[in-house]
């Protein structure tokens, strides 16, 4: 899936044909991303033999996970606060402010937690991953690995993918908790809902299903982020400009995928 040359796109004779070609190209790209992700997952079997891979996974968990915590915390707390404020104000018109806890909890667990985590990781971690792999591609480092018969997918992508798959559900859950905490602060200070009342209400309405679906979403988003970053990295061409474009494309496609996959997972589980 490592490409040194662009896929040839034949000239289109009219706009209708151009549209068709573009659509086919996108389908092709999606297919290649799927194959790449599959290859990376298939290479996980080396984890038992390779000390280096296990170390690399830990490093990547630190890079992707731990170092993102400050940003995630701030975003999560403020998301929770905004949610609490908006729903609280609406609820208070009917004197139902007590339900603000459940409102924040459910939207954080089901949607906002995984979603916010995904966006932040795509922007911080995915982009730097694409830039790093793209630079390696441009500097012939990937080619050097290939000459040594070291599979770049196994060597570079698999540890990043595993690290992300482990970290995203944890971070997603952490985001939810921080959001609920932020919401609680607003509930107490702005809506006159007591802390215990808020927490009890929040826990009453949260079902296991919400948690699991939220975690599933996080995992899927994590896979999407790493796949897009590595795909763009591995197909980088044209020097530094190419690295910039690869980074940009990886973030955009990860954002779009997160939105679309998020919708379809919600659709699948909440009908």
């Amino acid at each position: 899936m490592i490409m040194r040359e662009p896929i040839p796109r034949p000239e289109a004779r009219n706009s209708f044909q151009a549209l068709g070609r573009e659509a086919l190209h996108v389908v092709g790209e999606a297919g290649r991303c799927g194959v790449l992700c599959g290859q990376a997952l298939f290479a996980v079997r080396h984890i038992f033999r390779s000390v280096r891979m296990r170390q690399e996974i830990l490093t990547q968990m630190y890079v992707a996970g731990i170092r993102s915590i400050p940003v995630i915390t701030i975003v999560a707390v403020f998301t929770g606060m905004i949610l609490a404020l908006q729903t609280g104000l609406a609820l208070s018109r009917y004197n139902q402010e007590v339900f603000v806890g459940s409102a924040v909890m459910l939207s954080m667990l089901r949607e906002m937690g995984p979603f916010m985590t995904g966006l932040i990781l795509a922007a911080c971690v995915g982009s730097s991953m694409a830039a790093q792999l793209g630079t390696m591609m441009v500097n012939d480092e990937i080619a050097a690995l290939e000459i040594m018969s070291i599979d770049p997918v196994r060597f570079l992508m698999t540890p990043r993918l595993i690290a992300m798959l482990v970290m995203t559900p944890l971070l997603g859950f952490y985001t939810c908790m921080m959001g609920v905490l932020g919401g609680g602060v607003v509930a107490m200070t702005q809506l006159n809902v007591g802390w215990s009342q808020y927490v009890v209400n929040a826990l009453d309405f949260a079902a296991n299903k919400d948690l699991y679906v939220g975690l599933l979403k996080s995992v899927v988003f994590g896979a999407a982020i790493v796949t897009m970053a590595c795909y763009e990295g591995f197909t980088t061409e044209q020097g530094a400009v190419g690295v910039g474009m690869a980074t940009r494309r990886s973030v955009i496609s990860a954002f779009l995928l997160i939105l679309m996959l998020g919708y379809f997972i919600t659709r699948l589980f909440y009908n």
Partner: protein, 251 residues
């Protein structure tokens, strides 16, 4: 050993190699010279299937290098060492680990054996005291030498050198030339050297090919090359003040 059979390579509409044919013999030092951007690196990349020809074939021994894949490609590449133009060291590993990487990933040697082998190889390129440095902490010339160490650490049959001496001071450049010549004479490594440096081309090469506009403009022994009447070659020689009478000390 390595044979190009009417190889044409296009990138989009740009034709970089234009119906090239030549053969590199086993055990020789084959030098490729030519102006910047004529496809010298592209030619090297075809030998290990980092690029595939638009048409034509590349043979390595009795395999068609331009068509193999999977396990056969892996075995083909194992016969090669490749020094990339920029060194292509992995930035997050130190020099020692970079050189040790192919041994760690592809052999069952134990830690002691790896240490000895890597130290030996680093000494050959004059980097025995720089093993603990990161690529970003050493100069471009040192990166290139570390890349060379990595290329030869597994004792390959064929080594492809992409501008091994560019960016090096004259003394180190001659040292690398001597190393290439020594690996060739003593171990019989077939070497393909891409270079701009005609002095080193003339002194280490058994045969020299000149690429120009995607074609082989000249293919001859150093002595013939120096006396060539081909205007393309003459221009290149004159630019480096080499006259038919200039003497180059061979190794």
């Amino acid at each position: 050993m390595i044979r190009f059979e009417q190889v044409t390579k296009r990138f989009g509409s740009r034709r970089v190699l234009d119906d090239i044919s030549f053969e590199i013999r086993q055990g020789e030092v084959f030098v490729i010279v030519g102006p910047s951007g004529t496809g010298k690196s592209v030619t090297l990349k075809h030998m290990v299937r980092l690029l595939t020809p638009t048409s034509g074939r590349v043979w390595v021994g009795d395999t068609v290098a331009s068509e193999v894949s999977g396990g056969r490609l892996e075995r083909l590449r194992e016969r090669f060492g490749y020094l990339f133009q920029g060194g292509a060291l992995l930035a997050w590993m130190d020099v020692f680990e970079n050189v040790a990487l192919p041994l760690r990933e592809k052999t069952d040697l134990d830690e002691d054996a790896i240490r000895t082998k890597v130290q030996q190889t680093l000494a050959m390129v004059g980097l025995e005291t720089d093993g603990q440095k990161r690529p970003s902490e050493i100069s471009g010339g040192m990166q290139k030498r570390a890349g060379l160490a990595r290329a030869i650490v597994r004792d390959p049959e064929i080594v492809l050198y992409d501008e091994p001496t560019s960016g090096l001071d004259p003394v180190t450049a001659r040292m690398i030339d001597q190393l290439i010549a020594r690996l060739n004479r003593q171990i019989g490594i077939t070497s393909v050297v891409v270079t701009h440096d005609l002095h080193s081309a003339l002194s280490i090469g058994d045969r020299i090919a000149m690429l120009k506009d995607g074609r082989v403009a000249e293919l001859s022994s150093p002595a013939e090359f120096r006396r060539s009447r081909n205007p393309v070659v003459r221009e290149f020689l004159d630019a480096q003040y080499i006259t038919p009478e200039t003497q180059d000390g061979g190794f």
